[in-house]
């Protein structure tokens, strides 16, 4: 049993709105070969991509599964970013789906919330969604070098994390990702959104067995220090979650949001093929 300070955590409401997709007047973005592409998949309600579905292969870019919510007020939007944790409960607070329940599955430029397909049919862009945020400030009392980021107590309890005889934190993940494939998002802190895998070199993904990742997969990024920034460090381990789909843009790819991080080797990733929040949280 992992000892945490979960009895001391605050449960706090924050609300945002189902976002609207937006495009620039000129819709083209160059792909890795410089070909202009029109990118679809971010914001709004994505009806046919959900956690558990492939992160690769969509005719879309940075596909955000299910519902993406945001708040127009800069401060409130950041509070939503910084307080929400994967596994937090979401409740529809206006419109035809009033009262429907969902779950936070990640954080991109907007907050990502999963709702069942029947609820998606009722939701409208602009509907208000309340998140019961809980998890910020959580500590693993016996592992002070491991920082918990945006992991709800509920997810932590159901993840299947164990402590080894050598006192390492054994964390189930579907794959290990080498540091040299981590790209866009290096300029941000690990408290804010995600860092993309760089998928411009397709053969390299196959070589490392990470070409079939799914949305919601829990993964380890090796030799990184994501305690207070996103950088390379020999021996450090970052556990993340794949939150959005692949991209055609250079330096981009599926997004990996920081969940449990350590600059030393306290975390021991354990390859577990079904380490995906769709199953762990009973989403679908």
């Amino acid at each position: 049993m992992l000892r945490t300070n979960s009895n001391d955590l605050i449960t706090m409401a924050v609300a945002g709105y189902v976002s609207a997709p937006m495009l620039a007047r000129s819709p083209y973005q160059p792909d890795t070969e410089g070909v202009g592409r029109v990118l679809i998949g971010m914001s709004g309600i994505v009806y046919n991509a959900r956690v558990g579905d492939p992160a690769f292969g969509w005719a879309g870019d940075h596909v955000e599964p299910s519902v993406s919510i945001a708040h127009p007020d800069f401060g409130i939007d950041h509070a939503m970013h910084y307080l929400s944790c994967v596994g937090n409960e979401a409740i529809v607070a206006s419109g035809s789906a009033l009262g429907a329940q969902g779950v936070v599955t990640g954080e991109h430029a907007r907050l990502l919330v999963d709702f069942a397909p029947s609820i998606l049919e009722l939701l409208c862009i602009g509907d208000r969604i309340l998140i019961k945020t809980r998890g910020r400030g959580m500590k693993l009392l016996d592992f002070p070098s491991v920082l918990v980021k945006k992991t709800s107590p509920d997810l932590l309890n159901r993840w299947g994390i164990r402590v080894s005889k050598e006192n390492k934190l054994e964390v189930p993940v579907v794959a290990m990702i080498p540091a040299h494939l981590m790209g866009s998002g290096a300029e941000l802190t690990p408290e804010y959104v995600d860092q993309d895998l760089m998928t411009g070199d397709r053969d390299e993904l196959v070589r490392h067995g990470i070409n079939k990742l799914r949305l919601g997969d829990l993964v380890a990024v090796m030799n990184t220090d994501h305690t207070y920034g996103r950088g390379y460090k020999l021996g450090g381990v970052t556990i993340g979650i794949i939150i959005h789909g692949d991209s055609v843009m250079t330096g981009h790819g599926p997004g990996c949001q920081d969940m449990l991080v350590s600059a030393d080797s306290t975390i021991e990733p354990i390859i577990t093929p079904n380490a995906n929040i769709a199953g762990i949280l009973g989403i679908c």
Binding site: P30, D31, T32, E33, G34, A179, H180, L181, M182, G183, S184, G185, A186, E187, T189, D196, M198, G200, D201, D203, E204, N223, D225, H226, T227, Y228, G229, R230, G231, Y232, K233, L234, M249, T250, G251, H252, A263
Partner: protein
């Protein structure tokens, strides 16, 4: 001399103002957080930096991503044009104030969170300048190509710098270039996934061991470096065989994922650029 398309290039004005430094507003927490979680308060991007110039050491300053000399910025979309059109080696001229008429040249660019163009001026000219003074650049270099090596892309590189780079043909397909060092792609940090026409790519120093092993501890502003397995044609990202050449224009960093910033001047998808490690590859010597 390798043949270029210089006669096709457009030379065009872009104007910026010397940028004041900025700090976060209320609740007035001015700290950045270092790689090991310490709050740090030091000068950062922008303004006039009097005591650090092109050619000086890039690391070890009590500053965060310090930009030597004079940093300029324009408003919104005009700043994008300033950032893209300005090429290393382009002439910069002060257009008003007591330093009016002083001539310098472009030495670098910074990316997301600052978006400045960095210029070198002589000390006596900088003494007469103030934030807000207008600096105009004669943008010249966008579209530059080597006629016989069309798969090598140039960006932020003036014809003047290209001429000084000492590029040499290696067979029919490749060119060689003297560089200070060759950086493995795993050290390319902040800037990955962002634009490669008008920003910097930061070489990570959060694992000092590997940085040191690459012979980069004595890196200086203006040094030319190669980044292996790195494709900066349309943004920045990992690609085996690709090669990117950049010029150091921002100083070291206390943060994880950051370190000295380089502005990219050459890049190719295939193995067409052959960097040759040499001690004298700094744009200060090449341009002065």
């Amino acid at each position: 001399m390798l043949k270029t398309n210089i006669e096709q290039l457009v030379k065009i004005s872009v104007l910026g103002e010397i940028a004041n430094p900025t700090m976060p507003g209320l609740p007035a927490s001015p700290y950045i957080v270092s790689a090991n979680g310490e709050p740090i308060l030091v000068p950062s991007f922008g303004s006039i930096v009097y005591n650090i110039a092109l050619g000086d050491r890039a690391l070890g300053w009590a500053g965060e991503l310090i930009q030597p000399g004079v940093s300029i910025k324009a408003g919104e979309n005009a700043n994008t044009a300033l950032g893209v059109y300005a090429c290393l080696g382009n002439r910069a001229r002060v257009m008003n104030g007591p330093a009016s008429g002083a001539i310098g040249f472009v030495t670098g660019k910074s990316g997301r969170f600052a978006e400045h163009v960095i210029c070198h001026f002589e000390s006596d000219a900088m003494d007469k300048m103030a934030p807000g003074d207008k600096v105009q650049i004669q943008g010249h270099g966008v579209g530059l190509q080597l006629v016989d090596f069309p798969k090598i892309q140039f960006k932020s590189c003036s014809p003047k710098l290209l001429e000084a780079l000492d590029l040499k043909p290696v067979g029919d397909l490749k060119v060689s270039i003297p560089v200070k060092g060759i950086v493995p792609s795993v050290l390319a940090g902040a800037g990955a996934g962002l634009g490669s026409e008008n920003g910097a790519l930061n070489l990570q120093t959060s694992d000092p061991g590997l940085f040191s092993k690459c012979g980069l501890d004595d890196l200086c502003f203006g040094d030319i470096v190669a980044i292996a397995d790195w494709d900066s044609r349309y943004g920045h990202g990992y690609l085996r065989q690709a090669m990117t050449i950049g010029v150091v224009c921002q100083g070291g960093s206390f943060r994880s994922g950051y370190g000295p910033g380089v502005v990219v001047i050459m890049t190719s998808k295939d193995d067409l650029i052959q960097p040759i490690v040499s001690s004298g590859s700094n744009i200060k010597q090449l341009l002065e």
